[in-house]
Amino acid sequence: MRITCPYCGARDAQEFGYLGDANPQRPDGMDATEAAMHDYVHLRDNPAGRHRELWYHGAGCHAWLVVTRDTRTHAIEAVEVARKTKAGAAA
């Protein structure tokens, strides 16, 4: 699998580290219920299909990326810079 880093271009997946689902947002730990924190820390969907996920270009430019990938085919639909995504939409 290749991931097209927005900075570096297409690179082999071995240059990247995988973190997981890009969608969970950390609740405010002081206010959140125990159940909400439990959800955030432990519970993940495991979709067969479209998945937004975080990848780290550790062997390249060290950017965090949000990759939209089909988990069945590894077809990549979009690669965005995580920093820009977080700043804008409530991903």
Partner: protein, 212 residues
């Protein structure tokens, strides 16, 4: 006694004890030439959030360099700037003399960390250099895909490398490649094995940054 003390603290090349002048691999053939790039002044520059324009301005004023916005190397006089990730660059100087002082010009506009002794650099050239690099480098280094002045961060033999293409020399393409100093020995073990079938000369350093 004083001489002995001085000798202990003399600068030591990152390639000392690793790279030895001479010929390796296929006898009677020199398809690749390797030179240590010793004595460079190297500093990493990291711009603060939304501070890239101010840093670019300061670098232009102090060194006459335009910071590249894409993976590339820019050169001016005795200095060069190589893209090293979003908002990050490596500033290179031909010599270390006066380099620390020159960096003061950037102290307010970037996180500056001198790396002169922290990196090990080589200049690789010759008609078969791409064939040797292809054994470990996952990038397409064909002239169409990787023109003169382009730079990249990638890994070779599980070692993080920073490489860029300099002006061609009469014998072919020229690449400069930099690894963390502590990886020099491991990188050399890969590189020396990879160039051997083509025949390789190891020569004293001398060429200037990014040029032929």
């Amino acid at each position: 006694m004083a001489d002995a003390t001085t000798a202990i603290w003399a600068p030591r090349s990152a390639w000392a004890g690793i790279l030895h002048e001479g010929h390796i691999g296929l006898a009677g053939s020199t398809s690749i030439t390797i030179a240590a790039r010793d004595g460079l002044g190297i500093a990493s520059l990291i711009a603060p959030a939304a501070g890239e324009a101010a840093l670019a301005e300061a670098v232009k004023a102090a060194f006459g360099l335009d910071l590249p916005a894409t993976p590339a190397i820019a050169r001016a006089g005795h200095h060069a700037a190589v893209w090293a990730g979003p908002g990050q660059w490596l500033l290179l100087a031909e010599t270390r003399s006066g380099f620390s002082d020159a960096l003061q010009a950037l102290s307010g506009v970037a996180a500056v960390a001198e790396q002169s002794s922290g990196r090990a650099a080589l200049r690789l050239s010759g008609p078969r250099i791409r064939d040797a690099l292809a054994k470990g480098c996952m990038l397409d280094l064909h002239p169409v895909a990787f023109p003169v002045g382009m730079a990249a961060l990638t890994s070779i033999a599980h070692i993080g490398v920073h490489l860029w293409r300099a002006q061609d020399c009469p014998e072919g393409a020229v690449f400069e490649i930099m690894v963390a100093r502590s990886f020099a020995g491991s990188f050399w073990s890969w590189l020396s094995a990879s160039v051997a079938e083509f025949g390789c000369d190891i020569v004293a350093s001398g060429a200037s940054i990014g040029r032929g």
